[in-house]
């Protein structure tokens, strides 16, 4: 069984309440599919070419700050149309998965002793973990937007600066 391959055959979900600002910062066209060029991103005043880019950003932001926020049970969730295996760049995707796997509450050696069914369960746990860290990241963006809306206005570096904030 190839663990990474199995993980990448999944598509995470996010809380629909973030959709508004996700769209604000992401090129509308190609949103879910996501293939807008750099020029289009810039000219539309957006920071991300695709939704998975902002999702990856949010996950990293959550991981970096160790801020994991479960999506409420009753929340409406939006799922990515494309599996993780289609996300780019691959090395970044792998880095994020690396970060998440190390947060998994299970010994790697024990993992290897599990049968396929149990592994599948762990993979779903990992996807949930990813969603929770991404949700944490999104929450940080949301709270910044609320507390300091001007931070994102006319500031090309805003998302870079946000990475540096504790």
């Amino acid at each position: 069984m190839e663990l990474l391959k199995k993980i990448k055959d999944k598509a995470p979900e996010y809380n629909s309440q973030h959709e508004e600002f996700i769209l604000r910062f992401t090129v509308g066209q190609g949103g879910k599919a996501g293939s807008a060029g750099e020029e289009a991103t810039f000219e539309q005043g957006k920071q991300f070419s695709t939704k998975f880019e902002i999702f990856m950003y949010a996950t990293l932001l959550g991981l970096k700050n160790n801020y994991r926020l479960p999506i409420p049970e009753n929340a409406r969730k939006i799922s990515f149309m494309y599996y993780i295996k289609h996300w780019q760049p691959v090395d970044l995707v792998d880095f994020i998965l690396m970060g998440l796997i190390s947060k998994l509450d299970i010994d790697f050696n024990e993992l290897e002793n599990k049968d396929d069914k149990e592994i599948e369960k762990e993979i779903l746990n990992l996807r949930k973990l990813m969603e929770e860290y991404a949700n944490g990241g999104f929450d940080k963006i949301r709270s910044k937007l609320e507390s300091e809306p001007s931070f994102f206005v006319n500031n090309d570096n805003c998302f870079l600066d946000l990475l540096e904030e504790k």
């Binding site: 970096k64 880095f95 690396m98 050696n109 049968d115």
Partner: protein, 729 residues
């Protein structure tokens, strides 16, 4: 003669009867913003004397016949019931010297029937004359006398220089028309008498010469020869006259081309500058475009670099460290397990090595071996083998052996899954990216620095662009040039310059030809003289000489008088120009009236070394023109012109701005006994207004403000429009 009062009744925007303004000697000022009724007031003066008003749409003065009821206030027309409605303006002129008063009134009446206006064509014009020693005024009925009075109040030839609108200044003194000054001098001086004298002298000299020639022929010893020489002489004279005509024409052309060149030269320097600035603008624009393109590319890739250059990983080093720890632990555990297994296998193989290996497998068969164990006896060698004794154990090994063998040959995996490759891949990828993370800060810094450098360059380029734009705009507004004009000027200048050179060559050629024919003429005259047999009467010779001298003297005198007038005019103009520009340092140079080849004069501005100043701005040129107009009037001060006539001008100052306004008022109040000017400069600028009212160098008359009841922008319906007149002093 001063204007004492103007009264307007229902005249255009001046609704009602309360529109009265009194005037005194000095400068009288009517202050109002654009669209407040200043020009209509100027119209009122003009209408009374000339039955015409200025129609802005047509840019010309039109008779009452053409404008008809437009003269009447819209409010008066709207308010009127059926019957008559009329507009009138009356002006009171006071001749201080003779102490009599003329009241000139013009009135236009229309009929209103069922709310419809029935227009009439003509206005009524009345003049009341009143000697102040008498109580009652007398109406002047004789049309001829009325015309004479109007002509006395404002002689037609003086009109242009005394009553004018700001925008007319350009055409009154037109730098493009070389005879502008000559015409003005002709109007204002007795120079034409000298021209007549010159004509008489030429005719007299001609008649003297003819009489002398006749006598020469009469005394000839060879009549035929004389006859032939006489014909030759006439032919030569005709030829010379023709050539002189051509010469005059060429000189005219030359003058025109030179004047045009001069005008263009003035503009050419500006045009050259405009052109240079346009080129510079193009250069800066190109640089700006390139910089913007580079910046755009940088900005495009800036967002991309978040992912491409992994900036998004900034500060995430710990993730790999964490994974690394777990991965190492995992690896170690896996290695430990592998080592354990290996050790076990080694131990097993050691055991196996020690096992009974003499007999092949399952020999003896397990059932016999089991029997041996049960009976505690070896059935092969028939020796006793007590339970758990060495012998018994040896026999038991024969049964256990298959198991041991099975273990050692077992290739089944240690764990259910093997994720080593995946974990390793993640570890290695993380390691590689962690090295990149260390470089992110300097990478971001470099990129930001690059963008900031480009931005700085763009700022500089924009600054330069603004400066160039500003320079261009200033130059364009100072010179009233467009970029296209500038190119046209440069092209036309080279054409006119070539024309001037060609005319000059032609003139030289004609002059040489004339000289050649004159030599021929002298030779013919000498030959004719040689044929004379008797003696030509002395009186005849003297008469001819005197008349020829007279021709020269008359010509020179005319020239001298004209030059004196020009000198005087130049002096006066400079006096006014200096006075008007004293308040502004940017005004420069002095006025020089330059003589053209054909004897006309053109005003130009020269510096202290007599070098013409090129590229003078519009304000300066207008000031030169105003100074020249004033000079034409003030140069005649000995004739009482200035004290007799009133200057009325609408917005003369609007073309040169506030800096010169006070200087202009001072000069005006010095030059003219009375002036009435309409101006907006004092409307918004309170300081300027205070200075007008208090400056001791300005001889101030009455000052009024005029204010419309409805602002110009809201005048879709003028039926309520009236104008309020307020006296400020």
């Amino acid at each position: 003669m001063i204007i004492e009062k103007i009264e307007l009744v229902n005249f255009m925007c001046y609704h009602g009867k309360d529109n009265v303004m009194d005037f005194t000697e000095g400068i009288n000022v009517i202050i109002g913003d654009n669209g407040y009724g200043k020009s209509k007031l100027y119209d009122a003066f003009y209408w009374v004397l000339y039955d015409q008003v200025f129609v802005p749409e047509k840019k010309e003065f039109q008779n009452t016949k053409a404008v008809k009821s437009k003269i009447i206030s819209d409010k008066a027309k709207a308010d009127a019931k059926d019957g008559k409605v009329s507009a009138s303006v009356s002006i009171t002129f006071h001749n201080l010297e003779k102490d009599n008063v003329y009241i000139l009134e013009r009135k236009y009446t229309a009929n209103i029937m069922d709310g419809k206006i029935m227009e009439t064509n003509d206005s009524e014009f009345t003049i009341m004359k009143k000697d102040l020693s008498y109580l009652n005024a007398k109406m002047v009925n004789d049309e001829e006398e009325k015309r004479r009075i109007v002509s006395n109040i404002l002689p037609p030839k003086m009109k242009d220089y005394l009553w004018f609108q700001g925008e007319q200044v350009e055409s009154i003194i037109d730098f493009n028309k070389q005879d502008t000054l000559t015409k003005a001098i002709n109007v204002l001086s007795s120079i034409t008498r000298y021209d007549e004298l010159k004509e008489i002298a030429i005719a007299a000299a001609k008649s003297g010469n003819t009489e002398y020639d006749r006598e020469v022929r009469r005394l000839s010893k060879d009549i035929d020869k004389s006859e032939q020489l006489g014909k030759e002489k006439t032919k030569l004279e005709e030829r010379i006259a023709d050539l002189q005509k051509d010469e005059t024409e060429v000189i005219e052309n030359l003058s025109r081309a030179e004047t045009r060149c001069e005008t263009l030269l003035n503009k050419q320097a500006d045009a050259q500058k405009v052109n240079e600035l346009q080129e510079r603008k193009k250069g800066v624009l190109k640089l700006l475009n390139e910089l913007n393109e580079t910046l755009k590319e940088e900005q495009f890739s800036f967002h991309g670099k978040m992912f491409r250059n992994k900036w998004v990983l900034k500060g995430t080093e710990s993730l790999h460290a964490e994974f690394s720890n777990r991965f190492i632990a995992y690896e170690n555990k896996k290695l430990e397990k592998a080592a354990e297994t290996k050790a076990m296998l080694t131990a097993e193989s050691e055991i196996v090595k020690k096992l009974q290996t003499r007999l092949p497998l399952d020999v003896p068969e397990p059932i016999y071996v089991q029997r041996m164990l049960d009976e505690e006896k070896c059935l092969v060698c028939d020796r006793e083998a007590k339970k758990n004794s060495d012998a018994w154990q040896k026999i038991k090994e024969l049964i256990d052996r298959p198991d041991i063998k099975l273990k050692s040959t077992d290739s089944e995996p240690i764990v259910k899954q093997n994720f080593t490759d995946d974990f390793k891949r993640l570890y290695q990828n993380g390691l590689a990216l962690t090295h990149r993370i260390e470089e992110i800060d300097s990478d971001i810094k470099d990129t930001l620095k690059k963008i900031s450098n480009i931005n700085a360059k763009i700022r500089d380029a924009n600054k330069e662009m603004n400066k160039v734009e500003e320079d261009i705009q200033k130059l364009l507004s100072d010179t009233s040039l467009t970029s296209e004009d500038a190119l046209d000027i440069l092209n036309e200048y080279s054409i006119q310059n070539k024309k001037a050179r060609d005319f000059k060559d032609e003139q030289n050629k004609i002059t040489q030809q004339i000289e050649h024919f004159k030599t021929g003429l002298r030779s013919v005259n000498d030959q004719l003289k040689e044929l004379v047999t008797g003696e030509i009467p002395k009186w005849l010779i003297e008469k001819k000489d005197v008349l020829n001298d007279f021709e020269i003297i008359a010509g020179n005198t005319r020239e001298r008088v004209f030059n004196n007038l020009i000198t005087q005019l130049e002096k006066e103009a400079n006096g006014h120009y200096e006075a008007m520009t004293s308040g502004n340092k940017s005004a420069r140079g002095q006025i020089k009236l330059r003589r053209l080849p054909n004897g006309n004069f053109m005003p130009e501005i020269i510096d202290n070394n007599g070098v013409p100043l090129l590229g003078s701005n519009t304000s300066n040129l207008i000031l030169v023109k105003l100074a020249t107009i004033m000079a034409i009037i003030s140069a005649k001060s000995n004739d009482g012109v200035v004290s007799f006539y009133t200057l009325i001008t609408d917005a003369p100052t609007s073309v040169f701005g506030e800096d010169y306004t006070i200087g202009f008022c001072k000069t005006i109040s010095k030059v003219y006994r009375q002036s009435i000017i309409m101006s907006k400069e004092f409307y918004k600028n309170q300081n300027l207004r205070t200075e007008l009212l208090t400056n001791s160098e300005i001889k101030i008359g009455k000052v009024y403000t005029i204010t419309p009841s409805i602002p110009e922008t809201e005048r879709s319906n003028r039926n309520n429009l009236s104008t309020k007149i307020e006296a400020l002093n």
